[in-house]
Each structure stands twice: as C-alpha cells, then as structure tokens.
C-alpha cells in the first residue's frame, strides 16, 4: 500500500492514495523511510504524525503503510538498555550514525546476534494458553526472564527446543491451536503500544512500595500497583525525587521514561545506575532498569509515543509476575506533544490549547497501572506502579495537565519552591500532599511494626499541622506570646522537618532509609515530644528542655548505618530521657 505526500507541516504529513491503510498503522515516509503513524483518515487521505524530523520532505514523495499498528518488541535484551521513544536502542544508533541522531535509522529493538541461554519449562503435549511460561532466560543476574505464550493464543505444545543458547529469532517452541494451525514461537513477541496487555483479574493494591524516602514511606505512602503524581515548579527537585524512586523502590523492574526532559539527566542515570547497588540483593541497579529517553531536543511526535512504549514494556514484565515501577518524567511534556499535534491537525482546542481528549488520554495511561493476576495457569501476581512528574507552568497547578492528573492519581507529592529555596529536600510539602492509600495500607504497617507506626505518623502530621497555625500567630505577635506547650510543638515540628523529613539524596548514608530506621527515627522525635510535654506539666524549664544535648544526636541520627540503628538509637533515647529528667529536677530546684 503506498501513497503520495500532498502536504508537509512540521511533524504532520498528509498523504493521499492510502485508502487501504488502517488508522494507527505505522507508515514509512519519503526516501529516508522516516517512521510515522496514521492519526486520521479522510477518504483516501491520511494524516500522519512523523516521529522524525521532516526537513527535506515535500509533496510527491512516497508513503507506504506497514499494515501494522505502532508496536514494541518484547523479549530478552530490554533490561540495561536505553531506547528512544519508539523503541530504537540508542547505543546501537550511536554506533551507526554517530553522536547525533540522524533520520531514518532503522535498528531492531532487540539484538539479533546476541544468544540467550534458554531453559525450557514446558514439554511437548502440554496444553498452554496465553501467559503460560514456555521457558526461562536469566537475562541479567537480577532478573529471570520468562518466555511466555503470547496473550490470545492457546493450544497444545508440539515441540520445545532443548536447553541451549539461542537468538531471539530462533523458534523455541511450536504450538498447535484448536483449529489445527501451528504457531512457531520465538523468544520475542510484539504488542501494540496503545492497547493495554490483558490480564486475568485486577485487585485493589494493599502492599506498600518501599521507596526508602522517609516522607514518602511514612507520611504519604504509595502502594505497589498504585498511581502517583509529582508536580512542582522547575528547580523543586522533581527529577531527583524520580531518580530516588527509581533507585531505591523495592520493585523488581524499573522502567524510567525521560519524556521531553534533559539529555544530561539520562546520561546521569546511565552513569550512575550501574554503580549503585540494590539494597535488597546487592545487584547493580542497572540490571533491573529499562530506560526510555526522548529528550526535549528529539522529535516531538516520538515524545508522545514514549509514554506508551514505556508502559507496554512494564506490562510485559508484570505479566511475568514481577512488581514494576514506571517513572515518567514529565507527563507535561507528553501533553505538550499532544497539543502540538492537535494544533497541526487543526482540531478545536480545549483548555489552554490542549486537545479536549487530554484528560481521557491521561486517565487511560494511569489506569494501566494496578495489581493483577497475570494470564497463565500458575496464578502469579504482578503489579505496575505508575508515577508521573508534572511540570506546571509557573508552578501553578490550576492548569489542565495538573488538574486532569489529580483527578486520577491516588498519591500526590506536591513539591514546593519555598522549601527548595531553603534547601529542604525532598521539597515535598507536608501540608498539601496526600495519599489515599493510607487506609488500605494501614493494616500492613500495623502488622509489620505494631500500632505505634501509624500512631506516630498521625501524631507527626498533627504537630506539623499545628505548627503552620502557630506560625501565623508568631508572624503577627512574636514567639513570646506562645505557651510553653505551643513552643514545644514548634520545636518538635522543627525536629520532624529537619531531623526526619529532610533527606539528602547525595549523601550515601542518607539516600536510602530502611523502614526500621524511619520508624525508630520518628519514634525518637515523638518520644522527645511526649517526654517534654510531661516534663513541662511537672514544672520543668522550657529552655532547659530545648537545650538538651541529646537533640544534637537526634539531628545526626539519620546518617547512622542501618546495622547500628537499634543499638545506637537506644543509646540516644536513654541519654535523652536522662537529660529530660535532669531538666525536670533542675526545674524543681528553682
């Protein structure tokens, strides 16, 4: 099927003579065979969004349809790799076309030469259906890649290849379906990116995703299979929060989508992740990571596709029974790409020029997250957690992308520029952020760490809330007008903020905080508050209580190594109690 270009306007190309093509088909455009996708059809004229720079294209050039929708290739070789928005591996592209991305580069997503050690699981005669495991490949030292029957296929296994090393193109299994047709299966399969991969059943998420970030895990937790948004003005540390989550989350696989952001940020991940070790198994973090990079200088249409490419890869790993986190930085750039294409298609704009379907597209993306029972007969469960950064213009979240996102996501980590200016990082505002998973996760926390965990959290939130009210008063009439109890609230709130919530992503000892450390650290601060409150009621001098030296130790407690936490924290607690007691007796003497 081929047609002819009639119009070129930036990334939008119109071509006629494509009556046989389907909407959403991938097409190749012009002599350089640029990759594009059909957006609309009018008669035999197709509107095509081209994923590469269209300089040099003009009317008369040829367009032909591949007859296939925009798909990704799924199989061993994706981990540790970095792809552009339409799943072309960037290191291979570099080998072909040099340091810059040239047009029409055609590279397979998975290496055709690399051989993978395949271990069969299924046997001839087995009745398998979509999602059942045929065999396994140890893709990286951290991840066992399960080769599955593609969804929607079922039948009897005729033959399975023996244990050995094969490329992704070699047939590893032959399957005969009910109609008697034989299917030759390789280690790779294709899936259209705009369609969610099927599963058996979806569940309400009830397990937290441990991120090692104190403000997230303790105050605003997210569950595995949940959705979250990180909105914030520039410079408030969105990307650092995203990187921290990518590094320390206790998931099996991380898919990091750099969508319309800085090239150097992707380079940073590429440099850093192979060096960093997963705190749970000691493996380099890169071994569990897939990167999708469509930086801001790369063609805008591919930016729109990158989000779908990323989440489809995530769903594929979910189908193996893994917990996957998808981090998209930033969904605002994706929405802008949508807006640009919509403008070129001369669609009627909705709010701020964004197309009217912005909210539904965003909802579709986030809805692909969740905890599911995967296809296949072994009842395995997997999850996709979706976390999107939002970059609202001027930091004002009344704009359409933020608002549409907030309607969908369950966790909202609002970044605040005033905290960032004071170098309080992560600059997540504790008053405006929220997590709707608290109720469903509460039982898990209580089961693991006792009642105290949620109580401490509640107490801390209460103190922070009170602080903001007291600050109003202080601003009007000064600190001296506060009662000693209120002064204590202010002091405790300061400790919660500085000694607990603040966490330095660039300090090795502090970047990751285990649950135990988080729990004990907040416990120290809360028990300081309780002891002092009691001491005040017994007539202790407020200033003496505030001046105890154990507080300095609490301030530095967050950098205590994990294996020393129990012992050291106990010492601090003991010292603190003693000093508060002394302050009480000192008070009585006066």
């Amino acid at each position: 099927m081929s047609g002819t270009i009639t119009k070129v306007s930036g990334p939008l190309v119109l071509a006629e003579g494509l009556a046989d093509a389907n909407v959403s088909d991938v097409v190749r455009v012009g002599r350089e065979r640029l990759i594009g996708e059909i957006l609309n059809m009018t008669g035999d004229t197709a509107s095509i969004q081209v994923y590469e720079e269209t300089t040099g294209l003009g009317p008369g050039a040829e367009v032909f349809s591949t007859g296939m929708p925009m798909s990704v290739e799924l199989g061993p070789g994706m981990l540790e790799n970095i792809y552009d928005g339409i799943q072309r591996p960037l290191p291979e592209m570099r080998a072909i076309s040099g340091d810059c991305i040239t047009r029409g580069t055609d590279v397979a997503a998975l290496s055709r030469e690399k051989k993978w050690a395949f271990t069969p699981v299924a046997k001839p005669g087995d009745q398998l259906s979509g999602g059942d495991v045929i065999g396994t490949v140890q893709e990286t030292s951290a991840i066992l890649h399960k080769i599955m029957v593609p969804p929607r296929l079922k039948g009897e296994i005729i033959s399975v290849i023996g244990e050995g090393e094969y490329t992704v193109d070699e047939v590893v299994c032959t399957l005969r379906d009910d109609s008697g047709k034989e299917h030759q299966l390789t280690m790779s399969q294709r899936w259209p990116v705009r369609i969610a991969r099927p599963y058996s059943k979806k569940f309400v998420p009830r397990r937290p995703m441990n991120s090692g970030q104190r403000i997230i895990d303790t105050l605003f937790p997210i569950s595995k299979g949940g959705t979250a948004a990180v909105p914030g003005p520039f410079g408030s540390g969105k990307t650092v929060v995203q990187h921290q989550l990518a590094k320390w989350s206790d998931v099996d696989i991380v898919v990091y989508i750099g969508c319309g952001e800085r090239g150097n940020e992707m380079t940073d991940v590429l440099n850093e992740f192979p060096e960093l070790k997963d705190p749970r198994n000691g493996e380099p973090l890169m071994k569990r990571t897939v990167l999708i990079a469509n930086t801001s200088d790369m063609p805008v249409a591919a930016r729109e596709a990158s989000i779908y490419t990323g989440i489809t890869i995530a769903e594929y790993f979910r189908d193996m029974g893994y917990d996957v986190a998808v981090l998209a930085d930033s969904t605002s750039r994706w929405a802008e790409a949508l807006r640009e294409m919509s403008g070129r298609l001369e669609e009627m704009p909705g709010e701020e020029g964004y197309p009217a379907y912005l909210a539904s597209r965003l909802a579709q993306f986030y809805e692909r997250a969740g905890v599911v029972e995967c296809l296949g007969s072994d009842d395995r469960r997997g999850s996709v957690t979706a976390i999107g950064a939002v970059s609202p213009p001027g930091g004002d979240i009344s704009e359409p992308v933020s608002q549409a996102t907030m309607r969908i996501v369950k966790v909202f980590w609002a970044l605040d520029s005033s905290l960032a200016y004071a170098r309080h990082f992560p600059a997540i505002n504790w008053l405006t952020s929220y997590s709707l998973y608290l109720d469903s996760l509460g039982p898990w926390y209580t089961e693991q760490f006792g009642e105290r965990y949620m109580k401490n959290r509640e107490r801390a939130m209460h103190i922070l809330q009170e602080e903001s009210e007291l600050q109003e008063i202080v601003r009007l009439v000064g600190q001296d007008s506060l009662s000693p109890a209120d002064r204590l609230t202010m002091e405790t709130a300061k400790m919660i903020r500085e000694d607990f919530l603040m966490q330095n992503a660039f300090m090795d000892e502090d970047a990751y905080s285990s649950y135990n450390k988080q729990f004990k650290l907040l416990g120290l601060v809360i028990s300081y508050d309780e002891l002092c409150r009691e001491a005040l009621s017994r007539g202790a001098d407020m200033n003496a209580l505030f001046a105890i030296t154990a507080r300095e130790k609490i301030a530095r407690a967050k950098i205590i190594a994990d294996d020393l936490v129990n012992e050291e924290f106990e010492k601090i607690e003991k010292e603190m109690k003693q000093q508060i007691d002394e302050a009480v007796s000192g008070g009585e003497l006066i």
Binding site: V8, G60, I82, D99, F234, G235, N264
Partner: protein, 457 residues
C-alpha cells in the same frame, strides 16, 4: 538545475506564499531576488500541493509580486564554519560585517543541528571556577552545563556575564578556550559593552561574535542563536576547544518566534507565545554539553530579562524547565548596592553535586554550601520578622541568623565585578560567616569538617 519562480501570491511580513512550485520540501532554504538585484533569504514552513508558505528572514520591503523571483536551494539553512571564525564579527545571518574577508568554509553545517544521542553524552562534572563566590560556592557551574542568567530590565546582567567570560577557568588545565557571543536583538551599546570587554582583556582573538542588533530584522533573530551554536559545535567537537556560549537576550528571540507564530495564525499558548516554545527553546539549549570521546565542550550562558521580574512568565519558566539551573538577579540586592546582585536562594545549579567535593573542589564544599543556604534562608526569615515585630521579638539564635544573613549578602555575594576569588577563598569566607552561628545549628555539615575547618572564635 534550480527553477526560478515568479509566482509570489501573497506577502504578509514575515510570511510569503509562492504558488505553482514543484519539488519544494519542508524547511528548505530559499532566495528572493528583487528587481534591484538584492537577494534576501527565506525558508519553507509548509508545503501543500504546489503551494509553499515561506518565512522571510529579512524585511519584506521592496518585494514585488509580479517581478520578484524566488528560487529554492534544495538544502536547509547552513553555516560555513572554519577555525578562522575566531576573532571575527558576523551579522545575525552569519555574514562577516567586520570588513574582513569572507570565511573559507572547512565544512557546511545545518544550523538547526541534530539532537544529541543521550547515550553519546558525557556527564558534565568538571568544576569551572568563575571567581564569583555566589556561583562557585553555591551554584557551581560545570563544563558542558547550560546555566542561564534570569535578569530584569535595568539589572547588571551584562556585567556579570562579562565577568564570568573573563574569569572562567578550569583548575589545573591548559585547554584551548573560546567564546561565542550572540547578540540577539540587543542595543548597540550593550553589544559594544561585551565586545569592548573582550577587546580589553585580549579575549577578542578567541571570540566569535554574531550580532543581530535591535534595529536588525526581528525574524533574523530566529536564526542568530542557531548560527552561534553551529559555530560553537564546530569549535568544540571538531577543534577540541572549550567553548563558552553567551546568548543575550532570549526574551527577544522568543518575541520574534511569537511574531512568526502569530503571522501563521497558530493557536497561541500562554501569553500569545506558541505552544511549541518549550520544544523550540530546547532544541537550542540542549546543544550544550560534552560528548564521549571528545575533548571539547559547550558551556552555555543564555541571558534573559524576565518581563516584570516575573519568574513564572513563559520565557523564564520554560527556560528553567530545560536548563540545568538558573542564576537569578535580584532588584532588591541591586538597590542595596550589592554587586553582583545574585539572589542565591532561588538560584540553582542542578549539576553542582557531581562537580564539587573531594578531588574537584574540597571535601567540605557540599556541607558548607547546604549550611550557607539554610542559614541565609533562616536569617532572611528572621530579618523579615524583625521588620514587623522589632528586634526584641527575636530569639537569641534568630538574632545571630539575622546578622549572618546581613554579612552574607555584603561579604559573600557582594564581592564586586573585578574581584576574582579562588574556590579556597570562597570556602574560607563561607566558614568565617558560619562562625557567626551557634555551632549546634551547623547540622548540615559533617562533624569532622566542623572540627577541621571552623575558625576558632
């Protein structure tokens, strides 16, 4: 064979419609020959059937629909580049205007450049000493970074940019260094200020100037920064030079872009700027950086004036989302006579963390930096409280913080335009200031560094 068309159907500056064209392609460069022999340039924005919409780079004055001829050159806009460009002055379209001979090009490069493969980038982490404490100590610049200066009308951004260009150096290093300066719609005086400064310090011999002044055609401004970056890419990645690119003023650039967008009748985004302003700016800013296996680098300092000093205006806002930080100038500090008036709290260098510390600057750099920020932030709050409630309302600690903030502005930030401080000096001044504060408040610094560096009172 190149065809010439006499079929101009419409001219509405800066756009022009040419009919009955054949084989014209998107983004192709064109030439318009006027009846008096003058040649002007344009590029194709849209082509539909045999009708091409082109954008003029120069004024439309004198174009005659019946007589003027258009031909399309079959290639995008290119710049002939060569090492001989150093020391020369070009106009906004890349033609020499210093009276010297034309450049014998070693290569012709598409001025739009190509996106850099993220897998080919080398992460910028080499400390550049600018000699300005507020930058070196707190918002450290590294080689290959893009760090804009957000200024306001009437603020001395030119003096700061010139100071950086003059003093910037990499510690223990003898690399080849070059400056590419693009004047985008600024006044003759401001442009001359830079050129004079380059001349005075002898830097002019290793400087390439692209000059589009306020009275030059506005649409030409869209090409000017791209010309400069193309020259910079050649110097950095073909000639292994360390290139500092100064682009001033991005606000004028964005306005030119808005003009063209309005003429094309596109759906406007915020404040009338086109919806693709982010992408457009990104294709310039992202050209800064380093590449693996190449010695050269492009460090970029774009300057922009924030309309009404408003950081949320689309131009600074979108710039801030692309660049790796920003240096913000403050009108308050300027009024107080602090030179340079850098507002350190909202300023930021995103790449600083990998460019400082042991082996790069000094082990205590990171801790003291965070402590200075936190102290200054608290001190400013205390000072604010003091103006409302009087000094008596402050706690003893807050009084010390207020004093710290005052001294910090005067001594640390207000170093003057000619003072070139080494990083050691900057760190020492930092420690002197921190000694004003109670030791127990220095929570952000490692204990061992406090013991080693904090001066005895």
């Amino acid at each position: 064979m190149i065809k010439e068309y006499k079929t101009i159907r419409q001219v509405a500056n800066p756009l022009m419609v040419v009919d009955q064209v054949e084989g014209v392609t998107y983004n192709e460069l064109g030439e318009i020959r006027l009846t008096n022999g003058e040649v002007r340039r344009c590029k194709v924005l849209e082509v539909e059937g045999n009708r091409a919409v082109v954008q003029l780079f120069e004024s439309a004055q004198g174009i005659n629909l019946a007589e003027s001829k258009v031909r399309f050159l079959g290639r995008p806009q290119e710049l002939g580049v060569s090492g001989d460009m150093l020391g020369r002055v070009f106009n906004g379209m890349g033609e020499p205007i210093d009276g010297g001979p034309a450049i014998l090009a070693e290569a012709y490069m598409d001025i739009n450049g190509l996106p850099m493969n993220p897998a080919a980038r080398a992460y910028p982490d080499e400390f550049i000493q600018t000699g300005v404490s507020a930058i070196d100590g707190l918002n450290t610049l590294v080689r290959g970074q893009k760090l804009p200066i957000f200024s306001g009308s009437g603020l001395p951004h030119a003096a700061l940019a010139a100071q950086i260009a003059r003093q910037a150096r990499v510690l223990q290093d003898d690399e080849k260094f070059a400056v590419v300066f693009a004047a985008i719609g600024i006044t003759f005086e401001e442009s001359e200020y830079f050129i004079e400064d380059f001349r005075r310090t002898g830097a002019i011999d290793r400087t390439v100037v692209f000059s589009n002044l306020a009275n030059d055609p506005a649409v030409e401004r869209i090409a000017t920064p791209r010309m400069a970056l193309t020259a910079a890419e050649y110097l950095a990645f073909e000639m292994d030079m360390q290139v500092l690119v100064i682009l001033t003023d991005i606000t004028n650039y964005a306005e030119a872009l808005r003009e063209v967008s309005a003429a094309k009748k596109e759906v406007p985004g915020r404040r009338g700027y086109p919806g693709y302003l982010y992408t457009d700016l990104a294709t310039m800013y992202e050209r800064a950086g380093r590449r693996q296996g190449k010695r050269g680098s492009i460090t970029m300092i774009p300057i922009l004036t924030m309309p009404e000093d408003d950081k949320t205006h689309p131009i600074p806002d979108l710039t801030g989302y692309i660049t790796e930080g920003q240096i913000i100038l403050s009108r308050d500090l300027h009024r107080k006579g602090i030179v340079p008036p850098i507002d350190v709290l909202p300023s930021l260098s995103r790449l600083k963390d990998k460019g400082i510390g042991e082996g790069k600057t000094r082990e205590d750099h990171s801790g003291t930096m965070n402590q200075l920020f936190a102290g200054y932030s608290r001190g400013k709050d205390a000072k604010e409280l003091m103006t409302i409630l009087g000094e008596a309302a402050l706690s003893d600690d807050d009084k010390l913080f207020a004093k710290f903030a005052e001294e910090f502005e005067k001594v640390y930030v207000g170093q003057g335009n000619t003072n070139n401080r080494s990083i050691e000096e900057t760190l020492t001044i930092g420690w002197d200031l921190l000694s004003i504060l109670p030791k127990r408040e220095l929570k952000r610094i490692k204990m061992e560094h406090i013991e080693k560096y904090l001066p005895e009172k």
